[in-house]
């Protein structure tokens, strides 16, 4: 760790991992927390999934969503990726003195719309108002509780030959936020993919044990999540670049600005690892949803180069996908 916490520690990449491993786990590590999955699975008569997330996105409103929508979807997604069907949400607000009430109303309306659509309840919460300058408009923390529907999702379940799927084009949220924050850079019609993935995840639970892992590639993007999965399972991955879906507008914006869509954040995409013989079925399940209509099988798990996902380029070369170092840019969620 450095002597001070730089913005890099919030990137979702390797510095965030070092913060968790060097400060959080030594203080609190236990069998639930230490799996470091998107949500904790808690035993009981009916097993529960529990997850929490904080939202500090800037700007508060962006094409395709707002901090309100993001705060609900982000937590629903974390619960769903851990195998849970979301039921209850907590919502806490930290509001900056002087914040306009009608903007707060808009944010809460966006959040409420997602809550209604998902059929969950906001059952507890908190509000704090801090002096001007102590936060940037509004920060939101949410936590979610769900009922465990698909136990045992874990990188440890992955096997050589399993297929790697993504539910749609990558990098939209990160690039949308970047351009919303710096509108002078480029004009474009990018939209955040911010969406509730719980229905897609629930459809995939029907694959039973043939569904091995679900992850939503938020900060750090696809490359960081694949790198973490491969390292955790000590298996390799072969990813075909030509099969990885990226919208042309995102690709163009990334090219002009020197960004990589595989490291750009998503807020409405999932990665699924599925047994080879059920991969086509999984693809069909995802494509039934508007959020999954561009889903794709992008590669396979393999035994070669354990711990490393390798990207095969269309011209016959390859490169390793590593976890994000530093931040492509801060405060995207």
């Amino acid at each position: 760790m450095d002597k001070t916490i730089t913005l890099d520690y919030g990137s979702g990449g390797r510095k965030t991992a070092s913060l968790i491993h060097e400060l959080i786990l030594p203080a609190f590590g236990n069998r639930y927390l230490s799996t470091l999955s998107d949500g904790a699975v808690l035993p009981g008569a009916e097993s529960l999934v529990f997850s929490t997330d904080s939202f500090v996105v800037s700007p508060l409103f962006f094409p395709g969503g707002s901090i309100g929508k993001l705060a609900i979807c982000g937590t629903l997604n974390d619960v769903a990726m851990a195998g849970g069907e979301p039921r209850y949400i907590s919502l806490s607000l930290v509001i900056e003195e002087g914040f306009e009430t009608h903007l707060l109303e808009n944010i809460l309306e966006d959040a409420a719309a997602e809550v209604r659509k998902a059929g969950v309840f906001v059952v507890t919460g908190d509000t704090k108002v801090v002096e001007k300058g102590s936060c940037d408009g509004v920060f939101i923390n949410t936590a979610g509780i769900g009922v465990l529907k698909r136990p045992g999702l874990s990188p440890a379940a992955m096997k050589s030959g399993d297929a790697v799927l993504v539910s749609g084009p990558l990098g939209n949220h990160g690039m949308t936020i970047l351009l919303a924050r710096h509108p002078q850079l480029l004009e474009g019609d990018l939209r955040s993919d911010c969406a509730n993935l719980a229905p897609l995840a629930a459809a995939l639970y029907s694959l039973g044990e043939d569904l091995k892992v679900l992850r939503d590639p938020t900060r750090g993007g696809l490359a960081t999540v694949l790198s973490e999965l491969a390292e955790s399972a000590q298996l390799g991955m072969e990813i075909r670049e030509k099969d990885v879906p990226v919208d042309p507008s995102v690709r163009a914006a990334c090219e002009i600005l020197g960004m990589d869509p595989l490291y750009s954040a998503n807020e409405g995409k999932l990665i699924a690892v599925v047994s080879a013989d059920r991969a086509q079925e999984a693809l069909a399940l995802l494509r039934r949803f508007p959020e999954g209509e561009k889903a794709a099988i992008i590669g396979e798990i393999c035994e070669d180069h354990p711990g490393l996902p390798v990207l095969r380029t269309p011209w016959g070369s390859s490169r390793i996908l590593t976890a994000l170092a530093g931040a492509q840019f801060p405060r995207i969620c």
């Binding site: 730089t6 710096h182 850079l185 990589d260 180069h305 390798v310 011209w315 070369s317 490169r319 840019f329």
Partner: protein, 345 residues
Amino acid sequence: MKQNTDRIIRLMEICGTHTHAIARAGLKQLLPADVRLLSGPGCPVCVTPPEAIDALAALSHRPGLILCTYGDMLRVPGTSPDISLLKEKSRGARVEMVFSPMDALAMAAAQPDKEVVFAGVGFETTSPGTLAAIRTAEERKIGNFSVFMLLRLVEPAVRALLADPDCQIDGFLCPGHVAVIIGAEGFRFLPEEYRLPAVISGFEPADIWPSLKELIRQVRENDPQLVNLYTRTVSAEGNALAKQLMEDMTCREGALWRGLGYIEGSALGLKSRYKDFDAAARYGIVLPDKSAPTACRCGDVICGKLSPEGCPFFGKVCTPDTPLGPCMVSSEGSCAAAYTYGNLI
């Protein structure tokens, strides 16, 4: 492409954007075994001497001052790994990431009670934009804006490399972005004075591959020429307006480079009329002519004398999270490219 085993062909890509494009596409794996690619001194952040980072870090703590910088500079260490603009920011300095000097100028106009300093790194590509911001500041009388001038020129650096008796370079992949400004003719000195092949290339794999092929052909056939394969953007003469701006506003000065040392006439300094906008003059900053020796080997990497993987620190003590030098953190740095896009198979 076929191998010709008579001798090793060493080609240098000058520009850091080429380095990254080559690594990202894994092009080195597709080259014949007798061809080596070396990265050159074309990453603006990498050639900035550590003493300049120290000066910027110190400046960033001045009360009432906002230091604006490209994101690339944020993580570059100064003379100690504990000094970087990102670390100063976490210690309370007002450091803002901007995408253009015009953003910094807008910040100055919006906050007249603050002093805004832009860290003006870059080669010929970014120089006109930086100078345009200064000219606009003068026209609009925005007196609280200044630029820490770290603008460098490509040709003197390439000449300094070639003057090194250890230099073994058989041809240059020339930077398309710089050539947009100075024109293809700006690289004619390579075949004419040094009998070295020079091909101006764009930045897509589909641009770089034929450019490398042409360089290899020229080396094998001993037929050094200047060839512009980026004609959709680069003209023979370059951008007249941008060149005029540089001519009008700057004079060539000697400057310290990381790795290459002090090079006469290698930097753009502001003419006296614009000295009010020169942060070094305004805040009394004088950079040394010589860098203190450090363990970091970025200097050798920048000169193509050492490959990133050949550095004893690469991937061990020096990673993008704990960089010893700029090559590991800049988005144009060759060590960052080698680390991020580690080519395996």
